[in-house]
């Protein structure tokens, strides 16, 4: 990701943080506020980052994916379902059930990726449609099963939600996490850590390896790739499936890492925000991550402003209107996309099926 972009984003985040710190400093130490805001930022950013990585892999290979939302939602449900089944029916201890749950979530995402590839690569179905199908299908299937399994009379858990095996344990980085106060930042759950690692892995894969070179070629000029013997369909299939798996991991965050329960529609549009993050990050993993962090920071900004509502000086009264403050991330995105940090350019063949 280019320097300009990173600087700009750093400034935004710093700005959001400092406003809150200025308001809250009388009652709470700045360092404490900062720490809690960073912690919030990271956890909010986790699913967005993974979603955006999903988008990046798909679109770098030339397949647009607006089905991220549906992929996440389904993964969240089936991962959670698995962990509960293992834990309550087969009495597997919590941690393994959770880990297998994560695996199933990734698998779910991968399968939906396969569906997306099958439709848009093999059948050359318009990619927007195929994404839409996935979104609607996910809403229906998760809602339907959630009802059938956990609510109806005679359903396996006798109509009430069983005791979920909890959430993934926090992993503290030895040393760093011992730092007084600020150490909290280095206590995150596994998916959050994985997301950050994956950002760098993805960046490496896309720009330093053979796979990456071919992926980008297929997304920019599939025919050229074809003429040097690269199997365009294969590349697209695999990348979309990889993307699906990433989205799946993102889904696992909701039900296995964040809270031990599933709600219909609980992904709550984050799949679409991920799309924004991907474009905003100019189709690069690092960029996508930075964008996700901006959304995270904006969320932290909002929560903390309400937290310190009573301390907000009268001349800033509008900051007390949580609806207005809630606009921050969206307006920021629009400003940034409006070219403030240079135009974003999508892969040339993005969204177009390859005709031999």
């Amino acid at each position: 990701m280019d320097l300009k972009r990173s600087i700009f984003i750093t400034i935004i985040v710093a700005f959001l943080y400092s406003i809150v710190i200025l308001i809250g400093k009388d009652t709470t130490q700045p360092l404490i506020i900062l720490t809690s805001m960073i912690a919030t930022t990271i956890s909010v950013a986790t699913p967005l980052t993974l979603g955006a990585l999903c988008g990046t892999f798909c679109e770098r290979s030339g397949v647009t994916n607006i089905g991220i939302e549906g992929m996440m939602l389904s993964a969240a449900f089936f991962g959670w379902l698995t962990s509960i089944y293992l834990n309550t029916i087969y009495h597997v201890t919590p941690l393994p059930s959770l880990l297998i749950g994560v695996f199933v979530a990734i698998l779910t995402g991968g399968l939906l990726g396969l569906l997306h590839a099958w439709l848009s690569v093999t059948f050359k179905v318009d990619q927007i449609i195929s994404g839409t199908v996935i979104n609607i299908l996910a809403t229906g299937v998760t809602g339907f099963l959630n009802r059938q399994l956990f609510f109806e009379k005679g359903s396996i858990f006798g109509g009430n939600v069983p005791h979920a095996p909890g959430t993934l344990p926090i992993i503290a980085i030895p040393g760093l996490s011992q730092i007084p106060v600020f150490g909290k930042v280095f206590e995150q759950q596994p998916i959050a850590w994985t997301a950050i690692i994956l950002v760098f892995v993805a960046n490496f894969v896309l720009f330093r390896t053979r796979w990456g070179l071919r992926t980008r070629a297929v997304g920019e000029h599939p025919r050229a790739a074809d003429t040097v013997g690269i199997n365009v369909s294969f590349m697209r299939y695999i990348n979309v499936i990889i993307g699906g798996c990433l989205a799946g991991l993102g889904g696992a965050y909701f039900t296995l890492e964040s809270v031990p329960s599933f709600e219909p529609l609980m992904t709550n549009g984050r799949g679409f925000i991920s799309l924004a993050a991907m474009i905003f990050g100019n189709w690069t993993p690092l960029g996508a991550w930075a964008a996700a962090l901006v959304f995270g920071a904006a969320q932290a900004f909002q929560i903390n402003l309400q937290f310190f509502r009573d301390l907000i000086p009268p001349q800033w009264a509008f900051l007390q209107q949580s609806y207005i403050v809630g606009l921050t991330p969206y307006i920021l995105t629009m400003i940034i996309l409006a070219g403030l940090i240079g135009r974003t350019t999508s892969p040339a063949a993005d969204g177009t099926p390859y005709e031999k």
């Binding site: 390896t209 053979r210 071919r214 920019e220 050229a224 003429t227 040097v228 013997g229």
Partner: protein
């Protein structure tokens, strides 16, 4: 000489088209075998089959005598076949090195080994005398160099058989010369070359054998010493063609279009037109000759309102139209045959009838009170299709279904059917066969005779020589000379375009 490649009875049907019809063809070691044929004759299809891009419905391919079956270009490459495609197959945003290694990457413990590739390229370059900077981005390179990259790409894969599909369509005499030198070098090193073109001169000058295709069939295979342009042309088109345009001397009227000290930048903000000035009079053809990438594209775009110029002056008759939008220019009497027909020329998905009114859909009789008059549009189409002999089953088939030649005729018909004062024709015959070329040339000359001023931009020296009354040579974004067509030879022009001859003839 032993045969390295032989195809027997290749047949390929596309929906509605028999692209290849029992084609037999062979290539001997170290020979240059030219393949001639009009648009849609089936040349590219045949080559795509040999290169494993398309699979034939019938027939067999033998490499060095043994039958082979290609599932993908991978197999063809493995058999030592390399192909430079009609439309380059390079990823614009990749570097030369990335483009060349793509598909056969060099790795050091899992990571792309750019260093190694660059080293290999240095060697290749020196071996064949192909200068190239591996680190530059392809979209920054002029077409000539891009083609060089394509050739190196093939050699890098140890190609024994090299297919060149219309390699000279976009080159200038100078570049063509360089290319021929390269090709000969390759042949000396034992590489065999298949060379596709529409240009008879080239064929005669370089080929060892010439095969002519028409309507998907092989018509004949000749020996260049035994044949001549006229004969080849007839074989291609299946009738006698008049190759030289016959035109009476121009009777120039007053100035219709004048350009003064025009400065234009390209997309990458590099100034590619640096203070160009010229005038075009009614009833004359001003040819602008120049090597691709010397600013003709930007010049044309600026003249036709497709690109914002930095400074200068453009006048139609006496009105200043500098940086006016295209519509305004059109209404002031501009006609424009764009360089990239498929990009600017028309909407592929539209029926021919709509594309024939693309610039005039909004005026009577085609549109009244904001409502399109389909009957008028339809009759207009039928008339033009008759008058310009566009080969199509009906005015309502999608334009994408037409051959390149017919597509071009749709544009010519559209532009010439409007009553225009001047015409900017940019590469009007690129990629077209002699038949279509002959036809379009005749139309342009007729326009001139009807008192229209024509700016003809072309990399085809022959075209320039054949049509122009005056010739302006463009080099590095400047016009180095404007000469009367009869006062300059092909050779001089070639040299000026290459910037190696400073004209003593003063600009008129």
């Amino acid at each position: 000489m032993d045969t390295v490649l032989e195809v027997k009875g290749i047949t390929k049907k596309f929906p509605g088209v028999l692209a290849n019809d029992h084609v037999d063809f062979n290539l001997r070691k170290g020979e240059i075998h030219a393949l001639l044929g009009e648009n849609g004759a089936g040349k590219s299809t045949l080559m795509n089959i040999i290169y494993g891009l398309t699979s034939p419905d019938d027939g067999e391919i033998l490499i060095n005598g043994k039958a082979t079956h290609f599932h993908s270009p991978k197999d063809a490459i493995a058999c030592g076949i390399g192909m430079v495609h009609q439309h380059f197959m390079l990823v614009p945003v990749f570097t030369v090195a990335e483009n060349i290694m793509l598909g056969s990457e060099k790795l050091r413990n899992g990571v792309l080994d750019i260093v190694q590739v660059n080293k290999d390229l240095k060697e290749l370059s020196t071996q064949y005398g192909l200068e190239i900077d591996p680190t530059s981005l392809v979209h920054d390179l002029p077409v000539g160099i891009q083609q060089r990259v394509e050739i190196i790409k093939a050699l890098y894969r140890k190609a024994e058989i090299l297919i060149l599909d219309e390699p000279t369509a976009v080159l200038t005499p100078q570049e063509v010369e360089d290319l021929f030198i390269i090709i000969r070098k390759l042949v000396d090193q034992g590489i065999s070359v298949i060379f596709i073109t529409h240009k008879l001169k080239e064929v005669l000058s370089i080929a060892d054998r010439i095969t002519v295709m028409r309507g998907g069939k092989v018509i004949a295979t000749d020996d260049p010493k035994q044949t001549n342009e006229q004969a080849l042309a007839s074989q291609m088109v299946g009738r006698t063609v008049i190759l030289k345009v016959d035109k009476t001397p121009a009777k120039p009227g007053d100035v219709v279009l004048s350009v003064k000290d025009l400065h234009v930048q390209d997309d990458r903000k590099i100034e590619t037109v640096r203070g160009v000035s010229f005038e075009v009079r009614k009833g004359e053809i001003l040819g602008i000759a120049g090597v691709q990438g010397n600013g003709q594209t930007e010049l044309a775009e600026a003249m036709t309102g497709l690109r914002h110029a930095i400074s200068g002056e453009i006048r139609i008759q006496d009105q200043n139209v500098f940086n006016h939008p295209p519509r305004d220019l059109v209404e002031k009497g501009m006609g424009h045959i764009p360089e990239d027909r498929q990009k600017h020329g028309f909407v592929m998905q539209y029926p021919i009838s709509d594309n024939l009114v693309l610039c005039s859909y909004y005026v009577s009789p085609f549109c009244r009170r904001g409502v399109l008059q389909n009957s008028a549009i339809g009759t207009n189409a039928e008339n033009l299709i008759k008058r310009f002999d566009i080969r199509t089953p009906s005015p309502y088939v999608p334009t994408s279904k037409l051959s390149g030649g017919n597509q071009q005729k749709v544009i010519v018909a559209r532009e010439l059917s409007r009553n225009i004062k001047f015409l900017v024709a940019n590469q009007p015959t690129r990629g077209l066969d002699v038949g279509s070329i002959e036809y379009i040339h005749h139309e342009i000359v007729q326009m001139r005779d009807e008192g229209i001023g024509v700016v003809l931009i072309s990399a085809e020296l022959d075209e320039i020589m054949a049509l122009s009354d005056r010739i302006a040579v463009m080099y590095h974004g400047e016009i180095v000379a404007i000469l009367p067509a009869d006062k300059v030879t092909r050779e001089e022009l070639g040299l000026m375009m290459a910037g190696s001859l400073k004209p003593e003839v003063s600009t008129i």
